[in-house]
Amino acid sequence: MVTYTAPPARAAAARLWKPGPVLLRLTVLFLLLMFLFGVLLGHRLFNGAAIRSMAFQLPELAIFSLAMMVPLLSGGLDLSIIATANLSALAAAFVFTHFGVSGSDASVLLWHIAALVAAFGVAAMVGLLNGTVIAYLGVSPILATLGTMTMVKGIAVGLTHGGVIAGFPPFMVFIGNGSILGVPVVLLVFAVIAIPMGVLLTRTPFGQRVTMLGSNLQAVRYSGIDTRRVLVRVYLLSALLSAVAGLLMMARFNSANAAYGESYLLITILAAVLGGIDPAGGFGKVSGLVMSLIVLQLVSTAANLLNVSQFLSLALWGAILLGVAGIGRVWAWARLFLPARKPS
């Protein structure tokens, strides 16, 4: 008889985050929840309005989660995403409200471009600051981004005195609340970003470097890659994605403020980890993240339709993450008692 020594906890954790089973497990979870809520809600869940409202709500959190995912893959974290998003949105809002959005078509187009440049310019500055402090000064990502988060939000609060900037041109309103062929524009924006992000992170040298960085930073450096430059780009990308999410938020509410969406911050980490992204870095796919976001959105929409408080869905989100991890552990434990596969 073969004696089996239990694998160390670290190895078990790594197995938990293998990309394949995560997607499978989330799909099973999704189908189970669909069945459960389908029985409870019937046609109230499976109708156009409910699905459309899900499609409107999902993209903001989804893009924020993408912005969190990139640093997570590299073994870091970005706590400044929400603050960056708000400051970017405020920059765009400033351009929209201070300079005409009337006048000739050409000038209107020009100001829209100027607003975008302002938003992404601000985000790029924050991203570069984060990246430089983390890569070149060696500050741990949590602390560096905790500092920038506080400072960036402080700048936004200081400039606006905590107030709301509202009233944007019709195009922004259309982005936030319009649909093309019945598909919400925000969802299209998300698709346009998520698909290239998936390609970028798994099929390009940059993506490979990011995940390798998360697995073993020293080894990557010794293999001749400038890890610091990669890290700066990671946080730059994270900030730019945050700006997109900030602009979407601004378009949906038709206003911008220093403190919008703050409850998303820790949820994005939760969503990413549920989607199979190893918080220690190195493993994770956009597909897993999208699936986990769909599961979370389903829970929240069902809670809404069942007329229970949104806070219950917050609790359920946390419980789902813990539950999924727990099932993974029980499964790994159960396999110790199954006959070991013969080495081929």
Binding site: A9, A12, A13, L16, L79, V133, L137, G138, V139, S140, I142, L143, A144, L146, G147, T148, M149, T150, M151, V152, K153, G154, I155, V157, G158, H161, G162, E262, L266, I267, I269, L270, V273, P279, A280, V308, S309, F311, L312, S313, L314, A315, L316, W317, G318, A319, L321, L322, A325, G326, G328, R329
Partner: protein, 332 residues
């Protein structure tokens, strides 16, 4: 003792002390009211909550873990305690016991999940933050408790001294809580075997395990202690605010983390002192209070706080880089 002063200067705490002293000297010269006894009493009272939590979080950070959920544990503890206090005739001892039990229970849940799920402590505690807070908001419908028992509202303050104008200077529950939290944490960390074990665990988990430290049991103690401190802090905060609101505390966890880290505690574990943490809390408290007294619009205070955090963590990181380079030079 030239040796001691030299050592202090080279430590992080020593440099932080110089920064805090410089800030104190500047603020007492620039403003009339900063160094007044009344301002200090107000500061001690209003920063008691974050200060106490910082003491608890320090222990968790030294053990190599992190806790994000303590604000939710605190909210649950104070809500449960005050609801029961309003229903039944109970006194201080019972309220303290209830807060302790609820807080410790939340902490133990964290420790068990961290020990069994194979997830890192930050992920587990983010999840439990949402679970605790979500359930609290769901059960309470977000309703605040405005009417607290009289004995609780009147609290525990003693007038120590009344000046010529008749202004009373008081010693209150908040100060007791703050001092007790720091003293207790200092005793735990420096005067007990368990404290040495916590440092050992944070410095090198595998080595700690090999020398026979029971990691799971030690984690129960560490997170249980954090929960206990959160429960006590919630009580002190409720007494200060004179009401209980289920969503007043959640969202402040990262501020507390910032204070502890400013005090020199490392997120990778094994490093940190109570003295440093006290200085970290003081730095942020003096900065925010000083800006207000200097007449800077309160809107900008967060921005300055962020800049100070960023500069401080950068300086700390550079310092550690230089130390490592020094070690390498000696080895070579």
């Amino acid at each position: 003792m030239p040796d001691l002063s030299k050592r202090l200067l080279h430590s992080h705490e020593g440099k932080l002390l110089l920064v805090v002293l410089a800030l104190v000297i500047f603020l007492s010269l620039a403003t009339k009211s900063f160094l007044s006894l009344q301002n200090m009493i107000d500061l001690l009272t209003s920063y008691s909550f974050s200060g106490m939590l910082a003491a608890g979080l320090l222990v968790v950070l030294i053990s190599g873990g992190i806790d994000i959920s303590f604000t939710a544990s605190a909210s649950v503890a104070q809500y449960v305690a005050m609801t029961i206090a309003n229903q039944y005739h109970i006194g201080w001892i019972e309220v303290i016991l209830i807060c302790a039990v609820v807080g410790i229970a939340c902490g133990l849940i964290n420790a068990v999940l961290i020990g069994t799920l194979g997830l890192s402590s930050i992920i587990v505690t983010i999840a439990t933050l949402n679970v605790f807070f979500g359930l609290l908001m769901f059960v309470t419908h977000g309703n605040e408790i405005f009417a607290l028992p009289d004995w609780f509202v009147n609290g525990a303050n003693w007038v120590v001294y009344t000046d010529k104008q008749g202004n009373p200077y008081i010693f209150n529950l908040q100060m007791i809580g703050l001092i007790a939290a720091f003293v207790l944490t200092a005793l735990l960390l420096t005067r007990t075997n368990i404290g040495r074990q916590i440092y050992a665990l944070g410095s090198n988990k595998d080595a700690a395990q090999r020398v026979g430290i029971k990691v799971f049991r030690l984690n129960l103690l560490v997170y249980g202690y954090m929960g206990f401190v959160a429960g006590m802090a919630s009580l002190v905060q409720a007494q200060d605010a004179q009401s209980v609101s289920p969503n007043a505390l959640v969202g402040r966890e990262l501020d507390v983390l910032a204070a502890v880290v400013l005090g020199g505690a490392s997120l990778t574990g094994g490093v940190g002192t109570v003295f440093g943490t006290i200085l970290g809390v003081m730095l942020l408290a003096f900065l925010q209070n000083g800006l207000l007294l200097l007449g800077v619009q309160s809107y900008w205070s967060e921005c300055f706080t962020g800049a100070v955090i960023l500069i401080a963590v950068s300086a700390l990181a550079l310092e550690r880089q230089r130390q490592r380079a020094g070690v390498r030079r000696v080895m070579a």
